[in-house]
Symmetry: none
Subunit: 236 residues, 2 copies
């Protein structure tokens, strides 16, 4: 690793200079996965920057999953730039929609189960409030966002941020797809309202009763029914 030129130095913030330099070093191929980076003190000396700037660069590299730091040992190169978990590609076909739906089913049923184990009275109240709002909106027509908010409230009660984030992203994904006009409305608002009230009610009741298996089943039933309704709403 060499010192940086003055021109480069003036262009970027110190932390970014450090980041770029370490990234360059990482991508030079001189290190393999699991290898140890120079220590913070060494990077300070090599780059002529303060430790704070070096640490800021390392924080970024950690956030990107490229590096893992252990107190007392050092910072180590991870396997490589981790791919995103899975790409939220645009839904271009019904089979793909089904794949995403199965993905969502996996997450939401587990989340319901966790929510049943972990939900506080506050959580349950929040779910019921979300359900109320959804009911009001359903009278006025489509209510995708309120539906997503209801599911989000359940995910929040799971106390697993990763699951919660993923479910929120998936919900947006499907909302976006539906908004593209792929769906014809075949169910009257009153009918839809009645079904949603019943199915969501069962979910919340199971969670409030802290019955993980019942919550899981209720969510599965709800989502599978919803899928069937959705598929029948699509012109073949």
């Amino acid at each position: 690793m060499k010192s940086m030129s003055t021109a480069t130095r003036d262009q970027f913030s110190r932390a970014e200079q450090a980041y770029r330099h370490v990234l360059e070093f990482i991508e030079s191929g001189q290190l393999a996965a699991g290898d140890r980076l120079p220590s913070e003190a060494e990077l300070e000396a090599q780059l002529g920057l303060s430790r704070a700037s070096v640490r800021e660069a390392l924080a970024r590299l950690r956030a990107e999953g490229r590096v893992q730091s252990r107190r007392g040992s050092g910072s180590f190169l991870t396997e490589g730039r981790p791919a995103e978990l899975v790409r939220l590609s645009t839904i271009t076909s019904v089979p793909e929609l089904i794949e995403w739906h199965e993905f969502r089913l996996a997450l939401e049923s587990e989340v319901a189960s966790l929510a049943a184990e972990r939900a506080t009275d506050e959580d349950v109240a929040r779910m019921r409030a979300a359900q109320e709002l959804l009911m009001e909106r359903l009278s006025a027509g489509a209510a995708s966002r309120e539906d997503a908010a209801f599911h989000r409230a359940i995910a929040t009660a799971s106390r697993n941020r990763k699951l919660e984030d993923a479910i929120a992203a998936l919900a947006n994904h499907v909302i976006e797809w539906a908004r593209m006009g792929q769906v014809k409305r075949v169910m009257s608002p009153a009918e839809r309202r009645e079904i949603i009230a019943s199915e969501h009610g069962e979910i919340v009741d199971a969670i409030a009763a802290h019955n993980a298996e019942r919550a899981r089943s209720a969510v599965r039933r709800h989502l599978l029914n919803g899928r069937a309704r959705l598929l029948s709403a699509i012109d073949p």
Copy 2:
């Protein structure tokens, strides 16, 4: 924004506590895109942490694209989340590992169920072959990759590419974490071999029998046992 409880405080690093707290605040909906976060000094006071820890959290949020900081002005919420399902950031604590494990549990149990419905004889043969290879490797020591390959074979049989890709990425994620030496070996290879043979065998048998519920349960049992073993292998 409220102060953190002591229990939460002890579980995560200071920087991670700050990160989680600010993220929670961001996602509470109290801020819109473009709105300004509390200043670093305010966050210090509110969280009872040093400025360095607060800055580290902000660095992470910046790296994730959630926040943008301007010298002299403050840190601002960006337009919205990047279009990825969930970010595969480096695992920095045991609670985070557990979150990822729950995520994995959700996916893998659903995948086992789908595999049971959809697996061909070829799929089953592939699983058994992966299991054989894993057994051989277990005799020689750790075999994380072969274990991941076994799980991948199941995921392939689910015929859901999104789930398959996600499971592969998650497996790599956890392998990376374990490789960093966070785990002490406490189980003898023979013992481990016996347990894996039994648990994996149950999974494959259930899939071969096209029994979705049995496959799901077998995978859950296997992963939950594995988690317990993993957690007991980490010195508190």
